[in-house]
Amino acid sequence: MLPEAIEAMTEQLKRPGNASSLHATGRQARRVVEESRETIADALGARPSEVVFTSGGTEADNLAIKGLYWARRPRRRVLISSVEHHAVLDPAHWLGDSQGAQVELLEVDEHGRVHPDTLRNAIERDPDDVALVSVMWANNEVGTVQPVQVLAAIAHDHGIPFHTDAVQAVGQLPVSFAGSGADALTLTGHKLGGPMGAGALLLARGMTPVSVLHGGGQERDVRSGTLDAPAIAGLAAAVTAAVRDQEAVARRLTALRDDLIKRVRDAVPDVVLNGDPAGRLPGNAHFSFPGCEGDALLMLLDAKGVECSTGSACSAGVSQPSHVLLAMGADAAAARGSLRFSLGHTSTGADVDRLIEVLPAAVERARRAGLS
């Protein structure tokens, strides 16, 4: 967590108070929550009333996908990109499996981009039946940035609400809710130096998704549950700092990342860089190592003090080939031989040096162990 987020959060942890209460400590807590709301809105080009606090990205995505689908019934079509995070993918598939939705996955190109024509053609097959469109701002695995503004405009041509999961984008890229044209945007604290378990759905006025959590109706009658004032204060402080520093951090991380990519390519000449070579998150480098299993490589690098990750893990912890890479046209072997290196505000050139020092031997060893 960023120091300013820790400070803001711990300050509030010392104070009791339920933001829904009418007494003095309640008013105090409410002031903290509302100021946080204003701060976040201001940092992200939204109005305060458009900020709906949630327990994080997964809840915000669920509210957007399920809530907008339910609100827009009897329309049945749910259009989402094929590279969405599971927090979007799974609620959508659940709607398909048990709520009568027709889920259509929008194809991506080899870099993981959704082309505007893909969305336009999909909508135009039966525009009146589309409940919502959701395309993430930037991909969590390969870092590819989507043309959100263009895609939102296409959805709006047909009066269809557009949601974007911007969990990876806020603090990494310039993000303006108003400027994007999206009707709903997901963000979460722990991806931008804030606390875990705190996030928000930015929700345009006039959007009234059906609630996922019913109860006291604390957040615009759309989301219920006592608000976590300390976490919200931490989230607001983190968003402020992340957005304030975004440009400088992006510049530094882009340079560091480009250096990492170049040196990985020198060290392992047959490595394949995945994702959009140009339009990607500043701190993201994602590779396929031919002949290696990602899990084996991860273990060997971890043992040398380099922390990275493979794709997404299923609940049993057995790695499945990444649906993102498969959607981009990779075969299962290449998908299993992939690793992501993420750089953040604590990453330094020394980290890259360390990676390059241990990588060739690890790759050679993982190749010997092969793909089991």
């Binding site: 057995v318 790695s319 089991s372």
Partner: protein
């Protein structure tokens, strides 16, 4: 300088304590849970089965308490091919396989060991109750829990990369130690039966895989005394579940004497006809010392031991028992011991 050890962690108490002991001994230990089922159940039901998601979480939790890195290796394909399919094929051929033994031979000390060595590990440690004394496999001090039989098929090379940290302890001591170390699996029930048959219904599993086909049950004279729904549902020595209407002439219970898969015939007879003293085996593996004193043979897991003599010729091992054994099934391993030490093993082909 310690060894780099891969500790196979099932999520049970034995493998957790085994991993803790070698880590404490100063070795560089990495915990690995083997995912053996492509579609794991989320929870255990009773003592049966393993490899549920809950088991993998228990293993991870133990690794966290011990303070070692933890990974899950997906061995489901290999396990399906080398253990499950082999199990089905053996029954189809009228033999009685031991899948735990096959898993040690083909998965834990083959596929996993090979991969571990390639990745720079020196050895694989498991929670088996067995000892390695100067490289020779020996029985655990806990006679009741001893698992040297299901490890008896390993080659000398495989054993040279194996570590069994529990062989000097009883199961009760292991549980006590687990509790002392704060491992939450301390009182988790022991697993029994065949892990990939979660409901314990082996016959049902086999008929699902092999189908059912009615065939005759005959006595030693060849007279038909009943019928069955598939010879693969029977094991030599079995008495229960024969469902023969007519009692034997002498009124004594009848046992399965042999299974003939091609004609789908099950032959039954009195217990005395089950008694054998000569056992013919194939695929001998000599993995222990060359001493030949105090020779015994064990013919199934947790089975009795029989004093014996043996001779090997042309890749075939003939074992003569000092007293007769019953229920000796083709496909099981005959593991030879000198005292408490395994000297070798072979696969039972026939007995008379």
């Amino acid at each position: 300088m310690g060894l780099r050890v891969l500790a196979a962690m099932s999520g049970g108490v034995d493998s957790a304590v085994a991993a803790a002991r070698i880590a404490e001994a100063g070795h560089d230990v990495t915990g690995v849970h083997l995912a053996l089922s492509a579609n794991p159940q989320s929870h255990r039901t009773g003592a049966r089965g393993c490899c549920t998601i809950e088991d993998s979480r228990d293993a991870r939790r133990a690794a966290d308490v011990i303070g070692i890195p933890f990974y899950i290796w997906d061995m489901a394909e290999r396990f399906q091919r080398d253990v499950v399919e082999d199990f089905v094929a053996e029954y189809a051929a009228g033999r009685t396989p031991n899948p735990c033994l096959r898993c040690n031979e083909k998965i834990k000390f083959a596929a996993v060991l090979d991969r571990a060595l390639a990745l720079g590990f020196d050895a694989v440690a498991t929670g088996h109750h067995a000892r390695l004394v100067d490289g020779a496999l020996s029985r655990s001090v806990d006679q009741g829990k001893d698992q040297s039989y299901v490890l008896g098929v390993l080659t000398r090379e495989q054993l040279s990369h194996a570590i069994f940290p529990l062989g000097d302890s009883t199961k009760a001591e292991v549980r006590e130690e687990a509790a002392r170390r704060g491992l939450t699996v301390a009182d988790k029930p022991d697993s029994h039966d065949i892990c990939f048959i979660a409901d314990g219904d082996t016959r049902g599993f086999l008929s699902k895989r092999l189908g059912s086909a009615e065939g005759p049950i005959v006595d030693q004279e060849g007279e038909v005394v009943g019928s069955h729904q598939g010879a693969h549902g029977f094991t030599v020595g079995q008495r229960k579940g024969l469902r023969i209407d007519r009692p034997a002439a002498d009124g004594r219970p009848r046992y399965v004497l042999s299974i003939e898969p091609v004609s789908n015939t099950v032959t039954v007879g009195p217990r005395s006809a089950l008694e054998v003293t000569t056992i013919t085996c194939g695929r001998p593996v000599w993995n222990g010392p060359s001493r030949r004193d105090d020779l015994t043979v064990q013919l199934r897991a947790h089975g009795e031991v029989y004093p014996c003599r043996f001779q090997e010729s042309g890749g075939q091992l003939t074992i003569e028992l000092d007293r007769p054994a019953t229920g000796v099934a083709a496909g099981q391993a005959a593991v030879l011991y000198s005292g408490a030490t395994v000297i070798g093993s072979a696969t039972i082909v026939s007995a008379s």
